[in-house]
Amino acid sequence: MPETGNTGTTLGDTALPASRKPEAVPGLALGLMLLSAGPVVILMLLIAVLSFLSPYFLTGRNLSNILAQTAVISVVAMGQHLVILTRGIDLSVGSNVALASVVGALSFHAGAPAIAVIAVMVGCGAAVGAINGLFYVFGRLPHPFIITLATLSIAKGLALQLADGRAIPGMPDAIDALGREAVWGLPGSVFVVAGVAAVLFVMAKTMVWGRWIYAVGGRPDAAVRMGIPVSWVLVSVYVISGLCAGIGAVILAGRTDAGSPLFGNLLELDTIAAVIIGGASFLGGRGHLGHALIGALMIGVIRNALNLLNVNVFFQLIVIGVVIVIAVESDVLRNYLEGRVRVMQAGRQS
């Protein structure tokens, strides 16, 4: 723990026996460290245990399979993560994927080249995101839950209407290639995920925009008073979330060679779960992209393992629900421990 230089003094109003505090703090610090490393440790343990339970689990083919299956959740969860960082939620991502894939399929059948089909899908996703963000901020809605719930319904209905309720087979070859093996036995979609992660990582970590996201999530009212353009920061995260949904649609369309209004069913719940399980705080302002990716991977591994072990599909839902509860409770515990550290600091300060 930090050296404060003068550990013996106490302030009049927080006086506790000085000798007890310094030794109490390292225990707390250890607890906090374990909690923040938690998701990675649990994922490692999960992998270790599963490779004993099933001989197929740790094969190259299966691991590549897991990555392919989690690609969509991963990409969309990264967008969801940015929204959750600002204390928001984006319920529309699943429907957004469906709508984008349908619009993409229709544009392909209208004769658009591959690059245009991709642009249409990503653009459609970003447009839905922009509607979410603009209505939430400038429509002065109390919470993004409401507008994204509305666009969940609207996008789904629109996708069903446009596709006449059926999947539309056929996608340009360039998009289908994402579903096929590319290099090192990995599907192309994995590289799309890596690319999106790299770009978002650089943006969130090194750009002023990224810092503003954390400020807005940490304390929205203070962000306004510090002159941060909070409205535009909020709009931007919903646009990015929609954009990620559009990219998710491209990946899913590539894997299935189709666009379908049934794509992305319950994807909003999977992505929110991924972000929370990965260790980002639902209270906003805390977490990084790695959390979203670890969480998505954990969901992928759990589903894959339960399949390999022939566990009933319904049981998967229960397991993932239980994992969510554990993740959220550990976030609560982390906040509590930090509060304790703060009290200790007050006592140690000179």
Binding site: M1, P2, E3, T4, G5, T9, L11, G12, D13, T14, T206, M207, V208, W209, G210, R211, W212, Y214, A215, G217, G218, R219, D221, A222, A223, V224, R225, M226, G227, I228, P229, W232, V233, S236, G285, R286, E338, V341, R342, Q345, A346, G347, R348, Q349, S350
Partner: protein, 261 residues
Amino acid sequence: MSAIAANADHAVTADHPVLAVRGATKRFGSVLALDDVSIEVRRGEIVGLLGDNGAGKSTLTKCISGVHQLDAGAILLDGAPTQIRSPADARFAGIETVYQDLALFDNLTPGQNFFAGRELAWPQWLPRGLRFLQQRRMDTETRVLLANLKVTLPRLDAVVAMMSGGQRQAIAVARSTVFARKVVMLDEPTAALGLRESRQVLNLVAALRDQGNAVILITHNMEHVVELADRAVVLRQGRKVGELVPTKDNKQELVSMIVGA
């Protein structure tokens, strides 16, 4: 181009008020929170703003810092009427505020808090949000600033959620020194602090004045007013009811002005 060095540009000798508020009036529904209040502050001067709860002190500072807008009246900076429509406007004009609730970001480090909304970044031709953070420069300036102010923090890479009330208060006051060029307003900066921590914050307030800022200090503590303030302005029920030079002998007079007895 150091943000801290910019403070050296102050013309400390100027005798005209750097901030003047004329006939400030503000209503919240049927409540008249400010009624024709005028105050002036000069460079290198600390003005104590006193009054009971609900007297209009916080409303006045929030109007000056752009959180609220005046219904009537004018704010003059260096003699020129200035429209302050948002907190960003106020900070751009050189007015810094230390809010009663500190307005700190618990999830950011002290350095990140100092530069929140004012990040050092490049290249200049890009829109502000798309520039790249100059993290090392900000870290260095943070260390220099804290050393100059003699503020010691346990560590600079920890988020402020982990720090004590006094440390947080010191961070909030120190933040205002980074960019203050004209006016600093502090809303009860010592309200929740112990003796030793209060002393540290009061030293910071004096440092702000010595840098050539016009300082408005809201406090309930008469000792602090007598010790630090060059003048004291008293508000009661939204009106300015008095202004005097606080001394040990007229403390009682100040108190009776505040309570209206």
